[in-house]
Amino acid sequence: MLRDVNTRKVMKNAFRITKHKYKTALRVRVPGGLGDPLVFRTVADIAEKFGDGRIHITTRQGFEILGIDMEDMPEVNEAIQPVIDHLDTNQEKRKAGYPASGTRNVAGCIGNKICPKAQYNTTEFAKEIEDMIFPNDLHVKIALTGCPNDCIKSVMHDFGIIGMCLPEYDQSRCVACQACVNKCKSYSVGALSIENNKIVRNHEKCIGCGECVLNCPMLAWTRSPKKYFRLVIMGRTGKKNPRIAKTWLKWVDKPAIMKIIANTYEYTAEYIDPEAPNGKEHIGYIVDRTGFEEFKKWALKDVELPERCEVVPTVYWDERKIW
């Protein structure tokens, strides 16, 4: 029977301190939200053997296995090992469960594994980010979404990575059916017009949704093989000043995003409030305190932005009160 429990260690180990004393719940990380029968079976087995049979599907695409006795935590850590191995989650010690919980599961929409609208494989990119940043105690939320529909709601994250299609036009294949013009107008931003029976694209207006490519029956419009993204930053939910993320970089690429995220961890480690409750401070609030310019200086260190990348010089967030 457990009497003394270090709650800090319990939480760091991805177990929750619940409202029911001595009962805990395990948070299972599933980067990009893609599981398979082994993951589901293992989670189900743990819920049956150690939990009260209930499994919560979390908003960050993990599982939370409810009603576990704290006494069983070591055995649960052993039992979850096949999932950790199978999803190749970074771990410090085998059979010791998750080494951290501050940096949250990297979430992704269904992505181009099957979604016709998505511009990239969100799960693969999520996994690359997870590999780089986990384990870490810093409280960072990252979400990846395949297109500007933003089904994962990346605009409510510290980093929202939104797939962009760079449309390229082969005039010699265009038959002026105007499917692209009509779809861009009705589904998207109306960045296309027709002039002398050929299409004119307004690059400033274009949000890279890819509707022109998706709807071109001649494939006169195709997307560039190089993948581009929009990076929106410092969106958040919560009691203090919730807000929608804002675009910082448009037409940015994967290597630049990876470097910016890595840099942000260094910035956060430098500037996090040592007095913050539980040592936990959301990076958005740190940026509020240091100012955007200081964040930008750190985040862009040694980053090579693609030539066509558009940078918003100073990001201003919409501070209208929600509460």
């Binding site: 797939g163 299609c165 029956p217 001649m218």
Partner: protein, 338 residues
Amino acid sequence: MKQIVSKEAFNEGLAKLLTEYDIYGPVRHPYRGTHSDTDKIQYQQVHSFDEMEWDEKSQFSPKSAVLPINQLLFYFVEDQWLEASETMRKILVFLRPCDLHGMKRMDEIYLNNGAPDYFYERRRKMIKFVVVGCKETYRNCFCVSMGSNVPEDYDAALNIRDDHFELDIIDEDLAVFAGREADFDIDYVTENTFSIEVPEEVDSQYLAEHDMWREFDSRCIACGRCNYVCPTCTCFDMQDIYYKENEDAGERRRVWGACMVDRYTDIAGGITFRSKYGSRMRFKAMHKIYDFRKRFGYNMCVGCGRCDDACPQYISFSETIEKVGAVMKQKLNEEDPA
């Protein structure tokens, strides 16, 4: 002349032909498909056999080699005009048997349907065809049902083998390959994954009023993919372009048209004849399996199945033909139950 030609000798032969010919074949463009991380396969000019993609069915047919998607006809300045030039080089198109049957239908429409089309004929006489034998059927193919599976009237034909080619040269101008004589047949499929029966008796008036087309009013989105990928759709639209800098000068182009797409039946006065998508479907189907046949004695559709491959709404043209057959059968039964 039938011969076995090594890969090297084949490429050497092609290099010789390239001095006189522009060569067209299907080319895969990675990442250029409709959806992200998918490919596009279209016909275009190539400079070697290796550039061609034969493992998968090309999404677009070779008709763009014969009938350019955008074809400049003439330039005009005030009351003067100047004919646009056409290639002076010969053209060699590598294609599957069904697509060669498609070319026969293109010729029928452009050369034998009244006066020959000047611009078509001008380019067509430069073109020769090399059939690439088909060993296996692809999804949605029904060439056997349409009788377009057997390669006919080619200038040359070839079978692709692991380390060599079997080459059947008919046109002596193409006999530039070093190889040894052999006997073989050009591959063709004798069975598709399904077969259909094209109805012999088609009452187009009866069908025009039949409600079988109404399902397409809502299912079809009138994108025209079925037309644009079809090796036998021959319609075009005219475009007059007035140069921005001087609107007294400009050019006339013809551009692929599509009977499924808006504006196809628009005429002066703001009248549109076939607004309903089901009616457009009927018009297209009747053209492919009825009225072309009435004029030329055989069906227009060659059963390549690209329309079914391309349709984002999962409308099957081969099943539509079967539905026409069922409606006609029912009509005959009602008229004569015996």
